[in-house]
Structure formats: C-alpha cells, structure tokens
C-alpha cells in the first residue's frame, strides 16, 4: 500500500511537471504562430511519443478567417497533420512541412485535425509536447 502511494505521489509530481513544461513550451513556441489572430479559449496540448496520434474535431463558423497552428517539440521529428471535412474526406495536409494553415468557410462545418507523430526505431524514446491552437479574425 505504501509502495502504491509512493508510486502515485511521484508519478503525479512528474506528470504535473511535464504538463507545466508543456504549457510553457506552448506559450513560448506556439502562440507566436497565431500572431494577428485572436486565440481560441481552448488549450489543446499533450505530451506525445513517436507513433502517437492526436485529433481535434471542432466547428468553424463562416465569415471568419481562421489559422490553426500545430507545433511539436523538435525531439519528435516532423509531425504531419491533415484536415478532414465533416464527411471524413481529407481536404488538406501539411505535405510541405507547414506548421499552420489559414482558411475560411462558406457555411459552418465541423472539421477534424489529425496529427501523427512519426514512428522511430530508436532505443530510447523521447516524449515531447504537441499543441494545436486555433486563432480567428475578421
């Protein structure tokens, strides 16, 4: 029981520390990509490893210019991200290594952003922060 409590305490401490680092990383490295756009209220960040995926599904409204930025710690390599429309059809991907995409819509539509961290054969796995931020403007 004591051993379990100690495990939980130490893991909670390490987890909190990783999350705090991720928040700092996001503020320093990701928010600047949204320059000129008002950031959405939502903070979408996670600590991922090679081979992990992340996904955000959210509605975008018409008459608004949007920028979605994906930023990942360099230790994870070049992450890829796609946009899928409401029917699940891929309509864009960052094939040129873009870290953001600008768009607007004619009607409200729920889009899905799919992020993939490249896999690795490395013996030592690193985890790194990945953030997806949404900004909008007139």
């Amino acid at each position: 029981m004591k051993r379990l409590s100690l495990c939980i305490a130490v893991l909670s401490l390490l987890s909190a520390s990783a999350s705090a680092q991720c928040r700092t990383f996001t503020k320093r490295n990701c928010l600047p990509v949204l320059e000129g756009y008002a950031q959405n209220d939502n903070y979408n960040s996670a600590v991922l490893i090679a081979g992990d995926e992340a996904e955000l599904s959210v509605t975008f409204l018409p008459s608004t210019e949007y920028r979605v930025a994906v930023c990942a710690h360099p230790v994870l390599g070049d992450v890829t991200f796609d946009i899928l429309d409401q029917q699940g059809i891929r309509i864009w991907s960052n094939s040129n290594g873009e870290d953001h995409v600008d768009f607007s819509l004619q009607h409200a539509q729920r889009l899905r952003f799919r992020i993939q961290v490249p896999d690795t054969d490395a013996a030592i796995l690193h985890e790194g922060c990945v953030s997806l931020l949404v900004g909008s403007k007139d």
């Binding site: 051993r3 100690l6 495990c7 130490v10 893991l11 390490l14 987890s15 990783a18 999350s19 680092q21 928040r23 700092t24 990383f25 008002a38 950031q39 959405n40 209220d41 939502n42 903070y43 979408n44 996670a46 600590v47 991922l48 490893i49 081979g51 992990d52 995926e53 992340a54 955000l56 599904s57 959210v58 509605t59 409204l61 018409p62 008459s63 608004t64 210019e65 360099p74 409401q86 029917q87 059809i89 309509i91 864009w92 995409v101 768009f103 607007s104 819509l105 004619q106 009607h107 409200a108 539509q109 729920r110 889009l111 796995l125 690193h126 985890e127 922060c129 949404v134 909008s136 007139d138």
Partner: protein
C-alpha cells in the same frame, strides 16, 4: 586555529550535509523506484529525465491517440451575428451589478461564462465603454474564483489604452479567457472550465436570438448552425470529470438540445479552393430552421439562460 565552537559548527554542518545527502538519495531512489516498478505507463504525461523544456525521456512504449475537444468561442459567435446586420442592445446583457450575487464556485464559473460572452459581444459591436465595464466585472469574478491573476492590472491598463482599437480589445479579451481556461484546467478544476464554456455559449446564443422574430435569412441560418456548436460544447463538457454541479448544468441545457433536434440538415460535399495562400472551404452540410423551430430555440435559450443567471 580552531576553537571548540568552530569544531561544533563543523560537526553541525557535517550532520546537515549528511541529512541533505540522505534526503536527496531518498528522493532520487523514490523517483527511480516509481519509474521502474509502477508498471507500464499509459498516461501521456509521464516523464523521466528532463532534457529540455517540453521534452523528456519516456518509459512509455504503448502508442496512444489523444483526442482534443474544443468549441467555438462567444467572440466567434458574436462576430458572425454582427455580420448578419443584427443590432446590439445593452438591455439584453446580464446586469454588471449582479456579479456580487454569486458566492459559490459553480455559480461564479457559470456567470463568468455569461459575462465573458457579454464582454465579447460588446467588444465585437465596438461598444468600448461597455466592454471595459464588463472586463472589470470579469476580473472581479475571476478573482473570486481564484484565477484572478490571469487578468492583472496590466491587462486592464492595456485594455484602457487600446479602448479605441477593437482588434486590440478582441486580442486582450481572448488572451484573458485562454489563460483563465488553462489556469482552471491546470488547477484540476476542469468542471468549472466546462461550466464557463457552456454558459458562455448559452449567453452568446441568447444574445443572437433576442431579435430572432425580425431575423433575416442569414441570421436564421447562423442560429440553425449553432446545432453543431451545441454538439461541440456538450462533447467538451461531458469529457470532463462530472462533478454534481457540472452534471446539473448539463441537465439544465436539455430544453435547448430538444429544441435543436428539429433543425434540418442537408448533406453536401465540401469543395476547396485557394485564395492568397488561404483555403476557402465551400459546400458541406447546410442547416435550416423554420420559423416555428427558431421560436422554440429562442424560448428554450431564454429560459435556460435566465436560470443560469439566478
């Protein structure tokens, strides 16, 4: 030459160093023990040695899929409503004087969402004096909720200095709510963040529907499309740990959910073109609400919102 006092001091320092060494050893051992004997971790946030900010060596080997959830902000809703030619009416905002009525954390979070939406509307409609008043209200309620440090005096000063610049005010308000949500989540108060988001959506829809009887076709479509936003909001708040207060609030939204059930959806394919480096996404499903459905939504939103501000 050492005096007996100096020897005592050295012995005391040695004792302290030994104690510190033991403490450090125990801390390190506990860390190694936890990382090696707590089993394989499935959590995405378990880390080992820090290499640099935002990255570490991990013990995790299983792959995972992280699902982020989000919803459009009241600022976005206010913007589309303004573009339909709708008018701003201060009389529909929640009274700034009522802010001090809320003394429990759940009521404060809900009404922080309500006032935040009012603030967003006033800002988008360039009612700058009203914006500054509501920013003060939001600051005071955020302080009561324990997240007041995200709206410091410097932020209010920046808002005052930029009162004539709508884009600056939009950026300041958005930054404040981004930081507030992040702070609530990092404090382990996701349920309060959920209440804030849901109440903000209800208030922004309340303001959008106040003149629904005179709404033009565009505004009616924008209101019908809020069905999607409602689904986002419900998805987001139900993904959080369900405290009794959050559960109660989700139940309170039910009349709105029922009213939106009657909104009609017509499927269509998306088409994508490019303009100046930006994508223009056309087509996609369209949503329509008849006069009757619009009136039911308006009524449901009005009664839920009035319950929330009690």
């Amino acid at each position: 030459m050492r005096t007996p006092g100096t020897n005592l001091q050295i012995r005391t320092n040695l004792k302290r160093m030994n104690k510190l060494r033991n403490t450090l050893f125990l801390g390190l051992a506990a860390g190694i023990f936890a990382l090696t004997s707590c089993g394989e971790q499935s959590s995405p946030t378990t880390s080992g040695d820090s290499l640099s900010e935002g990255a570490s060596v991990t013990q995790r080997t299983t792959r995972l899929k992280k699902i982020f959830r989000a919803a459009p902000t009241p600022m976005e809703t206010a913007r589309i409503v303004q573009k339909t030619g709708a008018q701003f009416s201060q009389e529909h905002l929640h009274s700034a004087l009522a802010a001090s009525n809320y003394v429990t954390a759940d009521r404060q979070a809900i009404n922080l969402g309500v006032y935040g939406a009012d603030l967003s509307y006033a800002t988008i409609f360039e009612e700058n004096a009203i914006s500054l008043t509501y920013l003060e209200v939001v600051k005071s309620l955020a302080r009561d909720l324990g997240v007041g440090d995200v709206i410091g005096d410097d932020l209010l000063t920046r808002a005052e200095e930029n009162r004539a610049r709508q884009d600056s005010l939009v950026a300041i308000v958005s930054e404040a709510f981004f930081n507030m949500n992040e702070k609530l989540k990092s404090n382990g108060q996701e349920d309060l963040s959920g209440m804030l988001v849901a109440a903000g959506w209800v208030e922004s829809l309340y303001l959008a529907t106040r003149h629904a009887d005179q709404a033009n076709e565009e505004l009616r479509t924008r209101i019908a499309e809020q069905k999607l936003v409602m689904e986002d909001v419900l998805d987001l708040v139900t993904s959080y740990e369900q405290s009794p207060e959050l559960k109660a609030m989700v139940a309170q939204l039910q009349p709105i959910v029922t009213a939106f059930d009657a909104v009609e959806k017509e499927e269509a394919n998306s088409n994508v073109s490019k303009s100046g480096g930006a994508l223009i996404i056309g087509g996609g499903p369209s949503y329509t609400a008849s006069e009757e459905v619009l009136s039911q939504i308006t009524e449901a939103v009005g009664s839920v919102r009035n319950e929330l501000i009690k």
